[in-house]
Symmetry: C3
Subunit: 275 residues, 3 copies
C-alpha cells in the first residue's frame, strides 16, 4: 500500500520549506525535485513566516545549526503549526553537541512535529534528553541489528508514543514507527554512508511524502524511507567500477527521479510489527 504514496507526491507536488544546513542543501533541493516536490529555502526571520505560509510542509534540519537560524526554526514551526502544515525535524549531530540537543528538545516540546528522522545515536540522544520521567528505555544501541531488533523496535515505538511524533530511525535496518506500529525496512546499501547528505535528503523526502499524504502519515514516512533505500540500491547497480561516492551521490538522486509505484512494489522490503 505504501507504494502509492509516491504517486501522490508527484500529483500534488508539495512545496517544502527547508531550514537546513549549508553542507547538503543543494542535494536536498535536487532530491525534492526528483521525487516530484518543490523546494524553497529561507532562514531570515523577516522572510520566514511569509515563505512557510505558502508551503505544504516544513523541514527543519539541525546540521550547521546557528543561533540566528534557531529563531527562524521556531517562528516557521509555529506558523506551520498554526496553518496545520506538516513539520519534520532532522536532529543532525544531537549526540555530539549540547546546543543542537537543547535546540532539538525545545523544538520537540514547543512545536507539534509530525516526524523526526535520525540515526540510532541521534534518536537515542533525543530520547535520553527528553528525560527518564517519560518512561522510554534509552539503553538503546548505536545501530539496529537483527539481534537487537525487538528491543529497538520497542524503543522507537515507546519514544513515538511518548512524544506523539512519528520516529524514523535509519541505518543498516530502518525503523519507522508511531506508538503502535513499526515498519522494519531492509532496503539501502552500506555505501550510502560514504555519501554526505543521504540522511538530509531523506528528511526532505519525509516532509514531502507526509505533506502529500496527510491522511496516512506513518505509511507515507515508511514510503519515503523505502524510496531512499531502493534508490540507493538501484543507483548502486548503475555504478561502474571506476565510479565512487561522488557519482553515487548523483545516481541516488537520479534513481529517486525515476522512482515509481512499480519499482517500489518490486523492491521495497519491509515488514510491519504492531503491538
Amino acid at each position: 500500500m505504501l507504494e502509492t504514496c509516491i504517486a501522490r507526491v508527484r500529483e500534488r507536488a508539495p512545496l517544502i520549506h527547508n531550514i537546513t544546513n549549508y553542507v547538503t542543501i543543494n542535494d536536498v533541493a535536487n532530491a525534492l525535485l526528483a521525487c516530484g516536490a518543490s523546494p524553497i529555502m529561507s532562514d531570515d526571520p523577516e522572510d520566514i513566516e511569509e515563505i512557510t505560509s505558502r508551503c505544504a510542509g516544513l523541514n527543519l534540519n539541525l546540521g550547521t545549526l546557528h543561533m540566528r537560524t534557531i529563531d527562524a526554526m521556531f517562528a516557521a514551526g509555529r506558523r506551520s503549526n498554526a496553518l496545520g502544515h506538516v513539520v519534520t525535524m532532522d536532529p543532525v549531530g544531537v549526540g555530539a553537541s549540547s546546543l543542537r540537543l537543547r535546540t532539538a528538545l525545545s523544538l520537540l516540546h514547543e512545536l507539534r512535529l509530525d516526524a523526526i528522522r535520525g540515526n540510532a545515536s541521534e534518536i537515542r540522544a533525543l530520547a535520553r534528553g527528553a528525560g527518564p520521567s517519560r518512561g522510554v528505555d534509552v539503553s538503546a544501541a548505536d545501530t539496529v541489528t537483527e539481534e537487537n531488533l525487538e528491543t529497538m523496535t520497542d524503543f522507537v515505538r515507546d519514544f513515538a508514543a511518548h512524544t506523539g511524533v512519528i520516529v524514523a530511525l535509519t541505518g543498516a535496518l530502518d525503523l519507522v514507527a508511531d506508538g503502535r506500529t513499526c515498519y522494519v525496512i531492509r532496503n539501502g546499501r552500506p555505501e550510502m554512508g560514504r555519501v554526505t547528505g543521504t540522511g538530509c535528503q531523506l528528511s526532505g523526502l519525509l516532509a514531502a511524502f507526509l505533506a502529500a499524504n496527510p491522511e496516512r502519515k506513518l505509511e507515507a514516512a515508511a514510503a519515503a524511507v523505502c524510496t531512499m533505500g531502493v534508490a540507493g540500491e538501484v543507483a548502486f547497480s548503475h555504478l561502474r567500477p571506476e565510479e565512487g561516492n561522488a557519482t553515487y551521490r548523483n545516481r541516488i538522486i537520479d534513481a529517486i527521479f525515476h522512482m515509481d509505484e512499480d519499482t517500489l512494489r518490486a523492491r521495497a522490503r519491509y515488514e510491519i510489527r504492531t503491538r
Copy 2:
C-alpha cells in the same frame, strides 16, 4: 552575431563577484568556470568593496536573502557602479516574499543595474512593485506562450524602457529586451526546471557575458540565455535512460564547458522583434 559573445568571454575571462544564495552557489561557480569566466564569492561587509573592485562584474542573487547580506549587496553595488562595472540582479522569489521584493525594488532604484533575470512571476512582481505610475502594464501572464507572446514582449520592453535595465524573462520561451528590441528565444528543455539552480547559473553567465561584451550588452544577454538553453538541449541528448535530474545538472554545466560559436550558431533559435 550573438554567437561571437561567448568567444569574448573565454578570451577576457572576466572575474565575477557573486553575492548569491547558498543553495546553488557551487553550481554558479562551476557554470562560470565552464563559460570561461572566474567566480569569486564574498558577502562580508568588511570584505566586499575590496573584492568587488578587483572584478569585472557583480552578480546579485536574492535567493536565501538575509538582512546581513542586503547591506553587502548595496555596498558592492555602489562600488561597482562607481567603477563602471557590470551589475546584474536575479530577484529569486520576489513573488513570494515581501522582504525580497522590497530589497529587489531598492536595488533597482538605488543602483544602476545592467540586467535583471527572472521568471515571469518574478519579473511581474517587480514591475508591479515598481508602481503603476511607471506606465508598465503588469497584467502580464505567469508564463510566456506563443499565444501571449506579443503582450509579453510589450511588457518586458516597457519594463526595460522604464527602468533602463535589460530584462531577461526566462521560461518555456525566453524574452531578452531593452526598451526597443526584444529577443524571443526558443531554446532549452522543460526538464531544466527539475534541476535546482539553472536560473541562478544563467544569472551568473549573464554577468560574465555582459562584463566581457560591454559594448553590446543586449546581444550579450541574449547570448547568455541561448548558451544556457542550448546547453540544456545538448546535455539532455547525452542523458542515458536511468539518469535523472542530478546527472542532468552536471551535463548542463559540461555542455556550457564545451559551448562555442559554432554550436551556438547551429543551435541557437531566436528572432529579434524591434518596435
Copy 3:
C-alpha cells in the same frame, strides 16, 4: 614511503572538523568521505568547542570569510591546540582581501598550525604580511615553474622554517616543505583549475592525512597532495569527450574514493630536496 599514509587514513578514519566556505563545503565533505575520513561542520561559537573536541583534526578555510566565523575559527583552533589536534589553514583569497589576510596572519600567529595550503599568490601574500623581519625572501613568483623551482623551493622552506608550519604551495608544480625538506610534486592536470574547490578539497585531505599520520606529518602532507594530483589524472583519463568540468569534479572525488597505496606508488611523481 608516503604511499602508506593513505592506508592509515582509511584505517583510522579521523573525524575532521571543517570551518569552511559555503561554496565548496559539500565537495570537501565528500572528498573527506572518499579518502576514508569523516567530516563534521559547525561554525557557531556556542557549538564549536564541543564539536572540535570530538575530532582528530581541524580544517580552517578562509573562503567566504565572515566576521562571525572568525571568532569560531579562533575558538576551535585554541581548543584543538589545547588537545594536541592537527590544525590546518587554507588562506583562500588572502591575496585579494585585507580582511582575509589580516585574519590569516592572526591565525598563523595566535594558533599553532600544523600546515598551510595555498596557491603561490596566497602563500606569497602571507609571507609578505608576516613581515620582512622574518627573513623570508618574498620576491616569490606567482607560479612555480621548472625555471624558478630552486628559488621557490627556498622560499617555501624559508617560510616554513620561520613559521614552524608545513607549507603546501600548490599549482602546476606542487611544493610541500618544512624548514629543511621540500617535496617537489609533478602530479595533477591543468584542467583541475576549471573545477571550483579542488584546492579546498585538498586542504580537507591535508587535515585528514596529518591527523591519521601524526608521527610523519611532512610525508603525510606530501601524500595528500599526491593523492589529489593522481586523482586528477585518473579522473581525467575517465572523461568522455562530451564531459566537462562538472563531471570532472565528480570523477576526481570518485578517484580519491578508489585511491590506494598501489595506485599512489605507481603514479605519484615526486622528488625530495633537502638542504
